[in-house]
Symmetry: C2
Subunit: 306 residues, 2 copies
């Protein structure tokens, strides 16, 4: 609870869930129980991806996330009785792969349609809940960017491509395929923005770009500040657009307020009723505004080679 | 929906509810129906204070707030049929006054205990709901300021006085009485901070002070910014501390994010479950930090006459 940004806190401890089974399995553990990665003390398991790395199949051990309340109870009981026995039974299974698809639509640029600017989120969600904030809100906001351009009769100079990425949660295969196809087709991606941090009240953007473009975007602080968009630090963008990275590709991650995100993240509570319509719409407008500025000023119509 | 700050939107249209009956009554209206002051389209009446001004008792007319959904339905029906008849029946009543009290506690200053800095919210709430965000959160945050000073063993130079004001919603008589007693007792109030804008994620403060002190507080932007406290504009402070106003009194209103506030304000939905523990605690810490800075730097221990 000591980091203001909950994504930083999550990033700092999620290795326990991701790597727990692989590392404990190597040491001969029978199973691994992980305390949910959340700020809230609740009765909902917060789950997510895990790996066995290169552990031999025979050393695979069961792994489970338990709620923060359950973890507290277990910890208390273990302190009382170090010989405590803990049983757990699982019924989950990994089904074979099935085909799925990215969903793509675009507004063709009026001046340099070869320059493509991607706006996206991911269409899949983790098993539990509806994935309302992860990443239903990102999908809606991406679509709304196109809607807001249309509604306001703004014709972008570059092509604005809306991409609903598939399989972010389980390998980012949609993102990898998209980037591979972009390369195969010799497409010229000049930038992208991803919304995959929840649909809460807007705070700013994280910029993954070369120094000049990072500074250019940060120079818009005075335009964005009055809309509550103060955070414009350099940093990561998002798992789905990161494969498009390149010296002259300006990638941006939308950063809404993070305080409530891990109350819901990867739990059965991440449902539609947790999304506030107004906060969601303000996010769409924030993203659309940045896309507008980037389309207009980023490359002054010069076609940059990929 | 076109103003980012929902309090500004509220301030711009609330005269319809406050003055509706007085003005329509003067023109011989039979009653007045007001669309709820809210950003959300819901089925909950959002109510609040109203007045008949100096209208003679005989011209008093009934007044009611209806939900935004009901207002939309009524508007649609009226357009279809301008001769539509609208009936309403009310069972509310105004009970006689009963005694109630402000609740006051303080940490005595170590250097200039005569200098008093007030931290407060209001203890009463509008009839509907529990008043969780209006102003249960302000009360808890005010108390937490004292708790955080104690917990961190910070002994303020000036006296920090925590005040739970009574009757904010229906005449601010607690605030008026407090200010009157301060004058009678020749108390020296150097400043105050009020939390009465909900318990949502922190955004900053509104400063009601002389130019020098306003600038001093705004110069702390670099200290507060990393905690998401970017809004440090000059403006109002709060209804309960405003009566303490004076040339050398520095008053501050805590300003959390306003986007969800009017979803709940003065409705039966303003209940405890709408408060996020972490957002509430971040607000307490934000307020305590500003009180710490103001106590330390505002007057450099010089006793200012009231």
């Amino acid at each position: 609870d000591t980091l203001l940004n909950t994504f930083s806190a999550y990033g700092g401890c999620v290795d326990q869930r991701v790597q727990g089974a692989a590392i404990c399995g190597k040491f001969g553990a029978k199973g691994v129980i992980v305390r949910s990665m959340t700020n809230s003390i609740d009765d909902f398991p917060h789950t997510g991806t895990m790996t066995y790395n290169d552990l031999p199949r025979a050393q695979y051990i069961p792994a489970a996330a338990i709620s923060s309340k359950a973890a507290n109870a277990l910890s208390t009981d273990l302190k009382k009785n170090p010989n405590l026995k803990f049983f757990f039974k699982q019924s989950c299974q990994t089904l074979p792969d099935a085909p799925s698809y990215n969903v793509v639509g675009e507004i063709t640029g009026t001046e340099t349609p070869e320059n493509i600017f991607v706006v996206g989120g991911h269409l899949d969600s983790w098993d539990l809940g509806e994935g309302a904030h992860d990443d239903g809100t990102g999908i809606v906001q991406s679509l709304e960017v196109a809607y807001l351009f249309k509604k306001n009769k703004i014709r972008p100079k570059n092509t604005i491509r809306i991409v609903f990425f598939m399989n972010e949660e389980n390998g980012t295969r949609g993102a990898k395929k998209y980037a591979a196809l972009a390369k195969t087709n010799n497409e010229n991606h000049i930038g992208g923005i991803e919304s995959d941090a929840g649909g809460h009240t807007p705070r700013g953007f994280s910029i993954q770009a070369n120094t000049a473009n990072t500074k250019l975007l940060q120079s818009w602080k005075k335009l964005l500040g009055p809309y509550g968009l103060h955070d414009l630090d350099a940093g990561g963008s998002g798992a789905d657009i990161a494969p498009l990275q390149g010296e002259n590709v300006t990638l941006v991650g939308y950063r809404p307020d993070s305080q409530r995100y891990f109350d819901y993240h990867h739990t059965s509570r991440d449902t539609f009723d947790k999304v506030n319509k107004r906060e969601l719409a303000l996010g769409s407008a924030s993203i659309a505004s940045l896309v507008y500025l980037m389309d207009k000023y980023l490359y002054n119509n010069t076609l940059l080679k990929p």
